[in-house]
């Protein structure tokens, strides 16, 4: 018999919507799990909330995702775990209850909201130094937009134990969202690192959605992926020992192979023997991968070590602005003209006294992505986009970038291409810093709602 079937519904906020419905309807899932938060999602939500008090604060695609997956999930009895709650898990839970009613869910279907990860007001009292540069955390005072700790799987497991059909959370470590069902269904102890290590490892494979099924993978001629426009999100058939077969709905595009899984296994991992999560320290170096069928790879022997006494907290701060703009050259001599345009802009920024912490003028098509290590061989590019960006303390300074690029239209180099209208040529920079807080400092709050 196949093990517990856990499917992915999203890898980030902007992910495709249809593969979640596919998994809900054809994945035969016990659990469908959504990851919708990048590191800066919560701070962006806080900034938006300041500007727009009516912004509910949860995933802006909550309605779209729920409408697509609820019918399939209700039919199959698939439970949903999701971090779409962002800065308002309770509001998200109430909205989900609304959609449950719309879909004709049985009365009394339980939705749980897990909050408690937001510690904006007390973070400075809980942390000493910043992980990035060892500075005292107190140096961020006055600029903090939000601070949230990464919770583990335990509060989700508690909500499942109380009968929640859907659990929606604030900040929870990505793999923990996917591991919570394993802990609940297999009865794993929160301190059993021999189980939680593999469980979190499998969670890590699932948390990036299509990245395990051929997304972010194909390189034509070297790594070909069938029908990459029709990728399904991964499904794990997990056994109680924490081994799993990774697969996807049959008849879809993409591929589950040793290669796709090796890439995903180490994605955003630093020391592979010590991948820190709130629940356990994962050791990927013992992993065994085996192809056991078409689009079926068995992952086993991931191991675990005891969890650390601390939790990571992300602290988002206001750090000024970026001004950015772009213009273009084409045809013979495009690069020469771009180089002169760069020189003109550098002089103009000096003349207008641009106060910037960093300035970049790149030639897109030549060195914008790989900077100084870009190879400059072969014929000159036919087209060059000149991209100008500067990071400044104030919006006024950032606006100078666009003003000077505007001047290039009639006072610059011949045959300069420009696009109009210009919008949003400045943006606010929300810098993210990391620190550690004692595990005990966090008390998750679980609130239940019923349809």
């Amino acid at each position: 018999m196949a093990g517990l079937r856990i499917g992915s519904g999203s890898a980030w906020w902007g992910d495709r919507l249809e593969p979640a419905r596919l998994n809900a309807e054809r994945g035969d899932l016990d659990y469908l799990c959504f990851e919708t938060m990048a590191e800066a999602t919560i701070s962006a939500a806080q900034v938006r909330k300041r500007r727009d008090p009516d912004f509910p604060g949860y995933d802006t695609y909550l309605d779209d995702r729920m409408q697509r997956v609820l019918p399939g999930c209700l039919r199959r009895g698939t439970r949903i775990i999701s971090n779409q709650g962002w800065i308002n898990p309770e509001g998200a839970a109430e909205r989900i209850v609304h959609w449950l009613r719309e879909c004709g869910a049985p009365k009394g279907t339980k939705v749980a909201a897990v909050s408690g990860s937001l510690i904006t007001d007390r973070v400075l009292g809980l942390t000493d130094t910043l992980m990035e540069d060892g500075r005292p955390s107190a140096s961020l005072a006055g600029s903090i937009v939000s601070a949230e700790a990464y919770m583990g799987a335990e509060p989700i497991v508690a909500a499942l134990r109380e009968g929640a059909q859907i659990v929606v959370t604030g900040r929870v470590a990505d793999p923990s969202i996917f591991m919570a069902p394993m802990m609940h269904e297999f009865g794993w102890d929160p301190l059993d690192h021999d189980r939680l290590g593999p469980g979190n490892g499998i969670g890590h494979v699932l948390e990036c959605g299509a990245q395990a099924t051929g997304g972010y993978f194909c390189d034509p001629g070297f790594k070909d992926v069938p029908d990459p426009w029709d990728l399904a999100f991964p499904i794990a058939e997990v056994e109680s020992d924490g081994s799993a077969v990774i697969t996807k709905v049959a008849g879809t595009g993409g591929a589950v192979t040793l290669r796709t899984l090796k890439e995903q296994l180490f994605y955003e991992v630093h020391d592979p023997a010590n991948y820190l999560t709130p629940d356990v320290v994962v050791d990927f170096t013992t992993t065994e991968l085996e192809e056991v069928g078409h689009d079926r790879v068995r992952v086993s022997r991931i191991s675990g070590k005891p969890r650390t006494p601390t939790l990571k907290v992300s602290i988002a701060c206001q750090e000024g602005f970026v001004g950015e703009d772009m213009f273009f050259y084409a045809g013979p001599g495009a690069l020469r003209r771009a180089e002169l345009a760069k020189r003109i802009l550098e002089e103009r920024f000096r003349i207008v006294g641009l106060q910037a912490e960093e300035i970049r003028i790149d030639f897109v098509g030549l060195n914008a992505i790989h900077g100084g290590s870009a190879a400059r061989t072969g014929p000159e590019p036919y087209e060059i986009a000149v991209r100008v960006a500067a990071r400044t303390r104030t919006r006024e300074e950032a606006l100078k970038v666009g003003r000077e690029v505007d001047g290039m239209a009639v006072s610059g180099v011949g045959m300069t291409g420009k696009r109009v209208p210009h919008q949003d040529r400045t943006r606010e920079v929300i810098g993210v810093w990391s620190s550690l807080v004692p595990r005990e400092a966090l008390s998750p709050v679980i609130t239940f709602y019923e349809s």
Partner: protein, 119 residues
């Protein structure tokens, strides 16, 4: 014979703060020893000169034929601060595909998409 790493390994990069990890995965287990011997942390760092400002640490996972390079100071201060067009550094891993390495003729049949006449 000398050829670009592209024929020996595939790659993926991921971001965390101002640090990028670039995973280099041998296409075949028998190619891994050449990779491990030649693509040292020092050579990796030299290859990314002008991009990676901090320390490079190499982790080897022999069982899977994987080298994981953790490059500090690779993302212009991190996603939100970076002035790089590719501010997540998602395309960062592609550069190392051009790393020139030495593979014996006897291993030619293991190379990915390798055609001597065009190489």
């Amino acid at each position: 014979m000398r050829l670009p790493l592209q024929h020996v390994a595939h790659v993926r990069s991921g971001d965390k703060g101002n640090t990028s990890n670039i995973t280099v995965i041998a296409y075949e287990p028998d190619l891994y020893p050449y990779l491990k011997e030649q693509l040292t942390a020092e050579r990796f760092k030299a290859f990314y000169a002008g991009m990676v400002t901090g320390q490079v640490t190499r982790y080897a996972v022999d069982r899977l034929g994987v080298l994981n390079f953790v490059a500090e100071g690779a993302l212009g201060g991190g996603v939100s601060r970076s002035l790089c067009l590719d501010n997540y550094g998602k395309a960062l891993s592609a550069a190392i595909l051009g790393f020139e390495m030495e593979v014996p003729e006897s291993a030619a049949n293991l190379l990915r998409n390798y055609h001597p006449e065009v190489a």
